[in-house]
């Protein structure tokens, strides 16, 4: 029996609405006691001046493996996750082959066990081969351990398929994660459609491409009663629709990649492909609406949107370069620096969106420091000031628009099932 005492820390656990200075004992991989005396412990971690929080949970990581090992592997992604304070990450199924079979789910679990860094949860495909045509064997995927179903980052264009999937998933009580985008409207878009895209003559991703799908998704969630989570929203209309849907009692939740609540499409004036993201960086009115949605609880979850892409791909022309940024190692610092410190969110609500809320979306017993639960813990230095240097990333890819930024807030220790990993 290993006993670890975390001393003198400020424990913030949104699941218990707890924010207090208290010692925490971890025993045999579980949260064992609060405020105990420090006798017979194997390890004492001094958390003076630090925040002790449930380990962060990410709902949207792309792990590259199998199929795109030049971008990332499960080994490197989980190492990056641990460095960023994440103890559980949800692997999106856009691997090659896609995760639409039991064997694929088991492969991810095996590789994750071998990497032995953090928990890797698996999202299986909604459709066979992620092709958006017919249902994947969802029951088998769930049996193999898939905790959610999604075709993300590909949107489900076929409304009938989504409706059937929502109904079918009622049998397994698993959520569907939806990336809301109408491909006919977004077509070959590169950036947010608006004044800046007009100036730069870059093909636009209009807000309506997201809005009409958010509207469809909400309606289908309402009529089927299925569990639906909108993975990464970015428009004022999405926020507004979700707010009204929740007020009507519809069972939906929504997440956001935090950069969409901070940076605008002005960044694209550099033509730097590291700003080519999907959902795209939008104009100020949408950024403001996202911030408001985060603050009033309309947006439940903050996710990393971790999308590693090898540098030779990001070096291509802007229209050919792939979307996305690596984010597992910067999300926490970005949230502290850009959302908490300016006062948009307080610590407890920001941490809720990265711990207990994503756990509830998946329906898993994580994201909490309640007695008896698995000891997944992030110890955060809220004042640590550090410069983002992609050459130091544990991730295999370096595609980030935050290179050279000074961030505050960093995980100094990440404990996964009772074992310190940093």
């Amino acid at each position: 029996m290993t006993r670890i005492l975390i001393q003198n820390g400020r424990v913030i656990d949104p699941s218990q609405e707890m924010d207090q200075q208290i010692d925490l004992l971890v025993e045999d991989g579980k949260i064992a006691a609060y405020g105990p005396r420090a006798d017979h412990v194997d390890q004492v971690i001094d958390a003076t001046g630090k925040i002790v929080a449930p380990g962060l949970i990410d709902l949207s990581a792309q792990l590259g493996e199998p199929g795109r090992e030049e971008d990332e592997t499960i080994q490197t992604a989980t190492a990056a996750a641990v460095a960023g304070g994440f103890t559980s990450i949800l692997c999106l199924p856009n691997t090659e082959p896609p995760i639409d079979s039991q064997a694929s789910v088991e492969f991810i679990h095996q590789k994750a066990a071998r990497a032995n860094n953090c928990h890797v949860l698996v999202a299986g495909c909604v459709s066979k081969d992620r092709a958006g045509k017919e249902l994947a064997e969802i029951g088998s995927l769930v049996e193999a351990g898939a905790v959610a179903l999604t075709d993300a980052p590909r949107p489900i264009q076929n409304s009938e398929l989504l409706r059937r999937a929502l109904e079918y998933c009622l049998m397994f009580d698993r959520p569907i994660l939806s990336h809301t985008e109408d491909w006919e409207l977004s077509h070959d878009g590169v950036m947010h459609e608006g004044k800046i895209s007009m100036m730069l003559a870059l093909p636009g991703l209009p807000t309506e491409a997201e809005d009409v799908m958010a509207s469809r998704d909400i309606r289908l969630a309402e009529s089927t009663g299925g569990r639906l989570h909108l993975l990464n929203i970015s428009t004022a209309s999405s926020v507004d629709q979700i707010r009204r849907a929740k007020a009507r009692g519809i069972n939906i939740s929504a997440g956001i990649v935090p950069i969409n609540a901070v940076l605008t499409d002005e960044c694209l004036r550099s033509f730097d492909s590291n700003y080519k993201l999907n959902p795209p960086l939008r104009s100020q009115e949408h950024v403001d609406a996202c911030l408001a949605g985060l603050a009033d609880g309309t947006i439940d979850v903050i996710c990393s949107g971790h999308t590693p892409r090898a540098s030779e791909k990001k070096m291509l022309e802007l229209d050919l370069a792939p979307f996305g940024m690596v984010a597992l190692e910067t999300t926490l610092g970005f949230v502290v620096t850009k959302l908490i410190e300016p006062g948009h969110l307080d610590w407890i609500s920001a941490l809720a969106k990265m711990t207990i809320h994503p756990a509830r979306v998946l329906g898993i017993d994580r994201g909490t420091l309640q007695m008896g639960t698995v000891a997944d813990i992030a110890i955060i230095d809220p004042h640590a000031s550090w410069t983002v240097d992609p050459t130091e990333f544990r991730s295999k890819s370096i595609n980030t628009p935050l290179a050279g930024w000074t961030l505050r807030g960093r995980a100094v220790q990440t404990i996964v099932a009772g074992t310190p990993k940093l």
């Binding site: 077509h187 070959d188 608006g194 004044k195 007009m198 100036m199 730069l200 003559a201 870059l202 550099s270 033509f271 730097d272 030779e312 070096m315 291509l316 022309e317 802007l318 229209d319 050919l320």
Partner: protein
């Protein structure tokens, strides 16, 4: 026979510091006038390019064209050679993916052949700007997709300037495919800076209302604006850049927007008719108008050589002078 003579004593304008010409959006009115004055001086000193100068002697100008072009490429080559420079021609239509080499690597290879100036055309917006971050030589944008074509904007503006000498109070309409036209963008920024009133006119699917944010008038009817325009610049429809048809048919487009004899009769007496080549006779302009007395289309082509001489000289000299100070 060309006579090679010592250069006229052209004094380098101290206010010019740019090593690259990537767009007209970021240029000041003073910088635009510096280019125009330099271009006019080159044009007169060479008696309309019949003399060769030495301002670029010992310099190599590389034409790096990732998209097909004949007139712009030849115009740049001629400009470089008239100034005594050497040229490298590199034409490679197709993307990085098709070639298996990134455009940045291609450019670095060309630069390694000791290019001093790189003239870049590419179908993707921003590519010249991105290249300028990866090479040491001067970069001149010769058209980056629908984004900008600064020397085209300059030659259009120079042509207007030669005929009118003043931009204040002048009304210039850009007609046609504004959305996919790099010529439109470069003209808008340049003309606005110099004080002209700019109208963009075309099918609503190709003319964004956002232009109003920049003080540009947005109009959908050519007939409504005709009587008050001093200059019409008739843009080609860029079918190859559009993934869906923005209007039902070419016939309907010509009906609404083609400049023909009937429309010309309702225009100002001294209206200038311009078009960046290549023109589609019968679509945006009828042959009688293209070849008529109001047309300055061929003046534009001639002035293209002058503004390109000016730009090549200004950017390469600015870079030399900075090197010297180091």
């Amino acid at each position: 026979m060309l006579e090679i003579q010592p250069d006229p004593v052209l004094k380098f304008p101290e206010s010019w510091h740019r090593h690259h010409l990537l767009d007209l959006e970021s240029l000041s009115a003073d910088e635009l006038m510096t280019i125009l004055n330099t271009a006019a001086a080159f044009k007169s000193e060479t008696h309309g390019f019949r003399r060769k100068l030495t301002a670029l002697q010992g310099k190599t100008c590389a034409n790096l064209f990732f998209e097909n072009s004949t007139r712009t490429r030849n115009s740049f080559s001629l400009a470089a050679r008239r100034l005594g420079g050497d040229t490298i021609e590199f034409t490679s239509a197709g993307s990085s993916i098709a070639k298996g080499e990134t455009y940045i690597d291609t450019a670095r290879n060309i630069e390694a052949m000791t290019a001093d100036i790189m003239v870049v055309r590419h179908s993707t917006p921003g590519t010249p700007l991105r290249l300028s971050k990866h090479v040491d030589c001067c970069v001149v944008n010769a058209g980056d997709g629908p984004h900008e074509h600064p020397t085209q904007g300059l030659l259009d503006i120079m042509t207007i300037w030669e005929h009118r000498r003043n931009f204040e109070g002048l009304t210039v309409a850009l007609v046609g495919d504004i959305a996919y036209s790099r010529t439109a963008r470069s003209n808008i920024w340049g003309l606005k800076k110099l004080g002209a009133h700019v109208i963009v006119c075309g099918p609503a699917t190709l003319v964004s209302r956002h232009w109003e944010d920049f003080g540009v008038e947005v109009v959908y009817s050519l007939d409504d604006i005709l009587p008050r325009c001093d200059v019409l610049n008739l843009l080609r429809i860029q079918f190859e850049r559009q993934h869906t048809r923005p209007f039902p048919s070419v016939r309907e487009y010509a009906l609404l927007f083609a400049m023909n004899r009937e429309r010309l009769a309702r225009a100002k007496e001294d209206i200038l008719i311009m078009a960046p080549g290549p023109i589609n006779r019968g679509v945006e302009i009828t042959p009688d108008v293209a070849d008529g007395k109001h047309s300055v289309i061929l003046d534009q082509v001639t002035n293209g050589v002058a503004v390109r001489m000016a730009v090549l000289w200004l950017v390469s000299n600015a870079r030399d002078r900075k090197e010297c100070r180091r």
